[in-house]
Amino acid sequence: MSEGIGARVLRKEDKRFITGNGKYTDDVRNDNQCYAAFVRSPHAHARINGIDKSAAEAMAGVEAVLDGHQLTGDGIGNIICGWAITSKDGTPMNMGAWSALATEFVRYVGDAVAIVVADSPANAKSAAEAVNVDYKVLPSVTAPEKALESGAPQIHPEAAGNLIYDWEIGEKDATEAAIAGAAYVCEMDITNNRVAPNPMEPRSAVATYDTSEDHYTLYTTSQNPHVARLVLSAFYQVAPEHKLRVIAPDVGGGFGAKIYIYPEEIACLWASMKTRCSVKWTSDRSEAFLTDAHGRDHVSTAKMGFDADNKIVGFQIDTIANLGAYMSLFSSAVPTYLYATLLSGQYDISNIHCNVRTVYTNTTPVDAYRGAGRPEACYLIERMMETAARELGVDAGELRRNNFVQEFPHQTPVIMAYDAGDFGANLDAAKAAADYDGFEARRSEAASRGKLRGIGMSSYIEACGIAPSAAVGSLGAGVGLWESAEVRVNPVGTIEVLTGSHAHGQGHETTFAQVVSDRFGLPTDNVQIVHGDTDKVQFGMGTYGSRSGAVGMSAIVKALDKVEAKAKKIAAHLLEADEGDIVIENGEVKVAGTDKTLGWHEVCLGAYTAHNLPEGMEPGLKEGAFYDPANFTFPAGTYICEVEVDPDTGTTEIVQFVASDDFGTIINPMIVEGQVHGGIAQGVGQALLEQAVYDDSGQLLTGSYMDYAMPRADDLPNYKVSHESTICPNNPLGIKGCGEAGAIGSPPAVINAITDAIGNNDLSMPATPAKVWAAIQAVATKEAAE
């Protein structure tokens, strides 16, 4: 069957997207539609002495100007972080209060202070400008290491010294001893730069309150509408779950930033009840830079010890992670269980110890961003492996191979149990595709043109399919991370699949349909994927962490198993055959070894007419399933980047990028390649271009595309993407996940290539032309001194 698992089926959803017929949150228009604008803090840290709303309230078209005291007075709860981390001294994390609208203090530029509802977006904005907030400006701090210094401005009373938690994993003493006894120790200070997520569609919310039913409807740009409803109900007390419908229609990219429940959705829902208007807010790009949760922002020092045989004997890391002004929904988990648990990389390391301190600063909250913790771990390990190889004078690929985990399952000292992989196969494939061995000739040729050519490698591993609910629960998660599915077969044999996963660019409407097509031999056109509406799908945990294949599709498979079993029972009854002899293929239901056949639609119709069902069988053909993963999945691979640097300007051109990935079973190679391309683009963006920069007073300097460098097509190379797969043993399809790998594996490959080209390992992301040029000058200065 040409549309089943492994087929390059064109994306079903693209017809509406490329013809401009997608339906996004901002496209929703309700009766009595009003528009919200937020009054936001212009200061990084200030006390609110008072708010004068009178001028704004008197302006044309204004329905209401509502502040934080009214919000908390109505019982709307504080925004919470849903993952409890315990410090190494046994104390719980120090979470500061976060009201959707600030009451006494503002803690970052962009912090929401009041919501204005008016009859047009322009009138709402004008009225928001007319709200007069009396601020007493306070000292502020934006750099994570400075926030921990004594005398730093105190941001939340709950977190003394701005420390949220001081957490560790692994054996400290054993690791220190191993490093002390090492033949060679690689030591590096490594910063992982703060980036802004920049989904193409900005965040948006349309909230409507039905007075007669006491019921709310929220359209919102969410990666996980059921989680949004749960949190809005259980924690923020906006409405009970059965009185709140959350719909995430077409969503134009998420990258993590649309997982969280932000102040704006809460305020719009509450304001819709206060004003009896349908309240719409759509972020502009400036607000997006200020308020969409940022990613990364780690400062680390690390030591990696090797024995005389170049085997890693110990790896110790000390990290400070910036969580910004407030703890966003999953923020605490990112620099701990999504980061430090991956610090073994692809390597067999007996001793690892990582200490993580997270801090409050007067900056935009930081949370998961494509990769979430795993890119930070990968960047640390893979820069150190490359640097160690250079300092040891050995080939970077062979140093990696010498330390690869070779046998599976493999238990690392940092929780993770790798289930399957063939790291050497991906290394070999990447080297062959890159003509790694022929590099020196290319370097010489480039030198003849005055260019510095370099090559860099990254052998990444990550953890997807997050994760067994009991396991994440024991680590502090406030939710389980299973997924649900319902397969509804119609009387004519067409199928609707309701899934708790949510697509915002991933192509689920195609790939999920392929799984159904593969099972019954039906065209994908006969399958409709339904998602993103809490009134339609019973429950789901949403899409992030590359989990929709490994977890979401597994739930669908479980439901399909039940549908298949019932269909076979009906067919066996109708064909007077043994149930075990029934096979379903190419849209037909047959008795094996005979010419007895029914059309798939005939069996389905039989289920619904119910004229002739097996004794005691219920009519209908609809099954649901919940799937709780047995383990994380572990995509892995090797990326090789080759660059040419212009020594006069410091400009880097990526002249070759090779990716060899192990994603397990691949449903649609075209879509997987697209995910890898996009992921690498995002990783190259972080490596070469992107950084959210604050000035000393806490103003965001990169608040528009004039200063925030998003990668453009001409910044990127053509990629060579291939796969060397091992099957994941822990889910029914053998899927590992592919959504984040590109963003995880690429940054160290790019930086390793540049540092190779310029002969200076001291280079941080983003490797802008100015920074690379300065690093080249530093080498020249050092050589001149010698």
């Binding site: 300007t649 271009l689 925030y708 300065a774």
Partner: protein, 263 residues
């Protein structure tokens, strides 16, 4: 964007009249800077007077060695001018912004705004261009006063720019990785009067001529001659994209590349 009144002027005189009758009017000549600024509510003119539909302000004419470009001529039209309009100018216009900007933005709008990172000011200064207005003719030297500052009076409208084709001319730009405006853009021109080197993007007070490079080129028209010149770091911009030392280096490298491109 705040509410504003849009007017379409039929002539320079009509534009002046419309401007004078407005509370706080602004000329619109493409709006590639003004409109985004208004959308961010950082500018709020009561009236916009669009001068891009005035026929007399549009088009390129070449008379012998003299090139005249109407103020409302788009970057795309200039980019299509080829070497006929003087070496380096069409190339410069072809790398301003993106296709949308090039089909809407105009040469008059660009130089009237005098953004310190805009490209055209370097060409005007290096080509010793004359800036013609509804009132007078101003030399480029006098026209560009400082960052976002020109010699234009309140009711003065640029109608055209005019310059002699250089014997040699080229522009070399290093784009800002984010905005793609010039971090350093150098236009070099050689004519009967000697060599002129104008720098945009890098200077802390907008476009400027580099006399040391001009002198060096007078004796030796070569890339190495300009690369060996000193560039005063104290006169350079410094920001998150590059410090003064880096920009000073870029000025030398772009000057060298421009000289080499000019041949």
């Amino acid at each position: 964007m705040y509410e504003t009144q849009y007017h379409r002027a039929s002539s320079a005189e009509d534009a002046v009249a419309k401007l004078e009758s407005a509370d706080d009017g602004k000329l619109l000549s493409g709006g590639m800077t003004l409109i985004p600024t208004m959308k961010q509510r950082l500018a709020a003119p009561s009236d916009l007077v669009d001068i891009t539909h005035i026929d007399a302000l549009k088009g390129i004419s070449v008379d012998g060695n003299t090139v005249t470009i109407g103020a409302a001529t788009t970057h795309a039209e200039v980019a299509g001018g080829g070497d006929e309009i003087g070496n380096g100018v069409a190339e410069l216009a072809g790398h301003i912004g993106d296709p949308h900007v090039r089909h809407r933005g105009t040469i008059g709008g660009s130089i009237a705004n005098n953004d310190p990172a805009a490209d055209y000011p370097a060409a005007m200064l290096a080509l010793n261009a004359s800036i013609m207005t509804n009132k007078r003719t101003i030399s480029a030297e006098e026209f560009f006063v400082g960052m976002f500052e020109t010699a234009l009076e309140e009711d003065e409208i640029i109608t055209a720019v005019s310059y002699e084709k250089p014997e040699k001319g080229a522009y070399s730009k290093f784009p800002n990785p984010a905005s793609r405006y010039a971090m350093a853009g150098v236009f070099v021109a050689q004519s009967g009067d000697g060599a002129r080197v104008a720098v945009t993007g890098a200077g802390s007070d907008g476009v400027f001529r580099h006399s040391g490079m001009e002198e060096a080129l007078a004796g030796n028209w070569s890339g190495d001659a300009v690369a060996a010149c000193d560039v005063d770091e104290d006169a350079m911009l410094s920001d998150i994209h590059g410090d003064a030392a880096y920009r000073a280096n870029l000025v030398k490298v772009m000057a060298k590349r421009a000289v080499e491109a000019a041949g």
